[in-house]
Symmetry: D2
Subunit: 304 residues, 4 copies
Amino acid sequence: MDYQQILENIYQSILPYAKEGKQADYIPELAKVNPDQFGMCIHTIYGEICSIEQADTRFSIQSISKVFALAMCLSIKGDDLWKKVGKEPSGTAFNSLIQLEVEKGVPRNPFINAGAIVMSDILLSHLDNPEEDFLAFVRAVSGDDTIDYNEAVATSERENGYLNAAIANLLKYHGTIDNDIESVLHFYFMMCSVEMSCRELSRAFLVFANHRRKFSYAGVELTASQVKRMNAIMQTCGFYDEAGEFAYLVGLPGKSGVGGGIVAIYPLQYSVAVWSPRLNSKGNSVMGIKALELLTTETKESIF
Amino acid sequence: MDYQQILENIYQSILPYAKEGKQADYIPELAKVNPDQFGMCIHTIYGEICSIEQADTRFSIQSISKVFALAMCLSIKGDDLWKKVGKEPSGTAFNSLIQLEVEKGVPRNPFINAGAIVMSDILLSHLDNPEEDFLAFVRAVSGDDTIDYNEAVATSERENGYLNAAIANLLKYHGTIDNDIESVLHFYFMMCSVEMSCRELSRAFLVFANHRRKFSYAGVELTASQVKRMNAIMQTCGFYDEAGEFAYLVGLPGKSGVGGGIVAIYPLQYSVAVWSPRLNSKGNSVMGIKALELLTTETKESIF
Amino acid sequence: MDYQQILENIYQSILPYAKEGKQADYIPELAKVNPDQFGMCIHTIYGEICSIEQADTRFSIQSISKVFALAMCLSIKGDDLWKKVGKEPSGTAFNSLIQLEVEKGVPRNPFINAGAIVMSDILLSHLDNPEEDFLAFVRAVSGDDTIDYNEAVATSERENGYLNAAIANLLKYHGTIDNDIESVLHFYFMMCSVEMSCRELSRAFLVFANHRRKFSYAGVELTASQVKRMNAIMQTCGFYDEAGEFAYLVGLPGKSGVGGGIVAIYPLQYSVAVWSPRLNSKGNSVMGIKALELLTTETKESIF
Amino acid sequence: MDYQQILENIYQSILPYAKEGKQADYIPELAKVNPDQFGMCIHTIYGEICSIEQADTRFSIQSISKVFALAMCLSIKGDDLWKKVGKEPSGTAFNSLIQLEVEKGVPRNPFINAGAIVMSDILLSHLDNPEEDFLAFVRAVSGDDTIDYNEAVATSERENGYLNAAIANLLKYHGTIDNDIESVLHFYFMMCSVEMSCRELSRAFLVFANHRRKFSYAGVELTASQVKRMNAIMQTCGFYDEAGEFAYLVGLPGKSGVGGGIVAIYPLQYSVAVWSPRLNSKGNSVMGIKALELLTTETKESIF
């Protein structure tokens, strides 16, 4: 499979969508990003790496960080994690309070905001140096020690994060989180602020694509079965209320973020990261989803 | 892979769960079934067939019929189908009216009852002899001309089907269905009443596992891409509000029915059907889910 | 108090609103009514009767009939009625299925459609000749034997009444109603189709305004306390999700219907009926509400 | 009417209910109160004052304070208040986030927690010294300068007030409140912590019962129409999701608090306060509601 050629073809095909959608602007720091950017990179498990355009430009990974958090939480708590958070698709927007109230403070899955806030709380309780340890894990899986938080973004989110503060307070009310709300939200926003390029992200997610290899990075250890199950959760819950659409169009497990990044995994074959800041109405990158749809159509490869 | 041995091992392992759960009893005809039965059958795309226990006993396939209906609707309407029904997981019980009211009469996906009622309406509008044509298709994919409706079950459901009648009326109110409610519900319950054995079901679903083969049965034609996308929908929506759990534990696309049957697909490898009437609180077969979990654990094969 | 003069002043004041709003048109029979009509009539407990404009034109009383049904149900079942229907304001539109599903088939109050369908079922079960008996009661309280159903309206509603049929099926599913759905809906729509003029309605409601008088009409008997409590229910539940607004602006218990009629009661003083077909977005008569607001403002009389 | 005798009769009649229900214990300070207390006091507009039992024991008025806040907000903003908060009964528990999310940050009415938090924000924005000014108004209407906040209760609530903090954050997210969340919640909990006796409360509420008298206290001025409309809001929204039940049983506008106090108003006749800490499942005083039901039954006086 000539992935490089395929990526280049894809890029030509999606150019007509370059001005569709609108970048996230709910915080000043994200609104500053030039929306007319696009990058894409594939890492295969055989060592091939192909990339196009701004594959080396770093961007705010936002919710993609929840996958790293899930790996750490599973490593720490194993299946006990599921006592505090579910694993069903939410069927509603990622930041809804309704479901959380109805279900008495147990978030539907780890990838909606409420679920990620619960994971932040768990990491705060179990890690010696939460911020350092989280970063160390991300750097280990992506093999790059320069990856870092963007504190300006984290601060900007925290200052405007009333909805996430509402969620955290509701979780605290139901006794789902243990630490104080300020610390939990601070750590949550720090995780979301990590900046990575498509190349770094696709390399990092290769560890989730290759469950045959021992998973042990910076003290985070997972069994093959756990890695596969993380893929299952990405498949059913990775795209908010567009999870079904993404499975239908692309057919790969993955995770998106409001920074415009998407990573997807073809188990035992490759991981791919794509980035473009303009989002559709569900909060997913327009060109990103289009590019991944074409990738599985062109290669005729998907998990189905 | 010695599937026969694996099935036999599985059977031994799940025996402790033989009395867990409760069979569907909301209609007299289903309540009559002996709950202490179990069957399982695998068809691989290489022609292998393995089965254990009551793999040849027919049972009411109920919601599994919705997969056949989806194949026919996609063949008839193509992507226009998605104007009348969504493809997102529902996040709620399969028979909830709430979501349908909030979303103004567009069912969340084709596998919740509302979605299947919409598909019934489409088939009624487009088929010359809906009941004969549906049965002809099921018989064609399963290669067995003795498969048939159970009118007693259909009648029993129709007489007690107030919730489905409520759904159909709400769909009619929103203009989502065209035919008269009585006819739509009659056809819907007929489809659900089809009786098949595990052997027949797993053979029938082999056509969805093997998208490389031309899909053309009794006039129903699908492209490879459409077949794959049907798998995607089974993955995200096939198990009501247990779709995430099933993906996590089993990792295969599939569909369950309240008769206690479950079929699952490992694309380009095999299809498997399992049946046992006792259901968990989500309406899925207890032993069935356990057996499939063990199958993918033992074989180390899943889509993830 | 010179009510005649007050009514005439009111009429002048509300003329600017004569073209606001839109009459109900969900059934052909209601859409045929000339929307530019207005009538108003007061009956005091001292025997005074004042009226203006088309106070003698009959119109479809629609949901106002639910008050008559409530009187009959309370007479038959007493406080046992409240086992099948609540008495809290609904906080949602009068025909919502959501609340009914969440609350497992017990309608929030007797004045939302679900509640009135339950009352229809009760009357069907307890009256010898439900249609004749209901009409006899309405004729008795209004002192006019020519009041009658409009079968064309009832039939028209039944043929398009998918939402009410959905509600009835949901009630049947939950076991809240005993009779068959067709009969219940038929009777429900017949009750709603009764036609009365403002003069007849205000006379009829005088019996609810004067709880000091013995309440015994056509076999329907209520205690003073029951009559007062019916007023309480009209106060909190009589105007769908505009109950608070009506209490705020008008300050009298009452009941509205989509035919454009409103009746209100000033206990131990008067009953008043007003009619104009154009409705606001909540389904209440625009000129009707305005007229009643002015009535209590001008007279400085309200229950508060 | 011999109110003193009636009160004494009532007390005998409700004694069997003395151990029913459970006092609020969600904060330590409220849990400390001896639950086996009862007091009741009536003030008529003719100057009569009758009381029984612990009518002079002060307790935490909690949500009853929202009526004072509403008077101040109406005085400041007039009908503009209704742009920020509705006036419809909520149909749900007083602290639900669901409705607030669905209705995009506009609380259903001023008496649910969200509505009172919005009023706190308004008072913070418009008063020179919010805490002093609020207290001055309460002291003025009750004619007692020793009435005060209980800072221990306020602090205790603030420290455990996660649900109210969630509500405040959601309001801030929707832009409904202007001041910072900490200050708004601080002021909100201070208002709720005011301690008054039944005698003081019934005297204070006399000003709402007598709309014929000029309403001008400590700078808060209301028209007769505004006072009457406050009664309308107490009638439809004063008892959370038991508003209909209270109207049905008691038939007077009023307001309850989780401290076990209830005040009710018979316009142009009397105001009455009752207190007993044990609450029913809806958060209203068991003996309090019983006592008021008997009061209107015995006196045969209600607004209906």
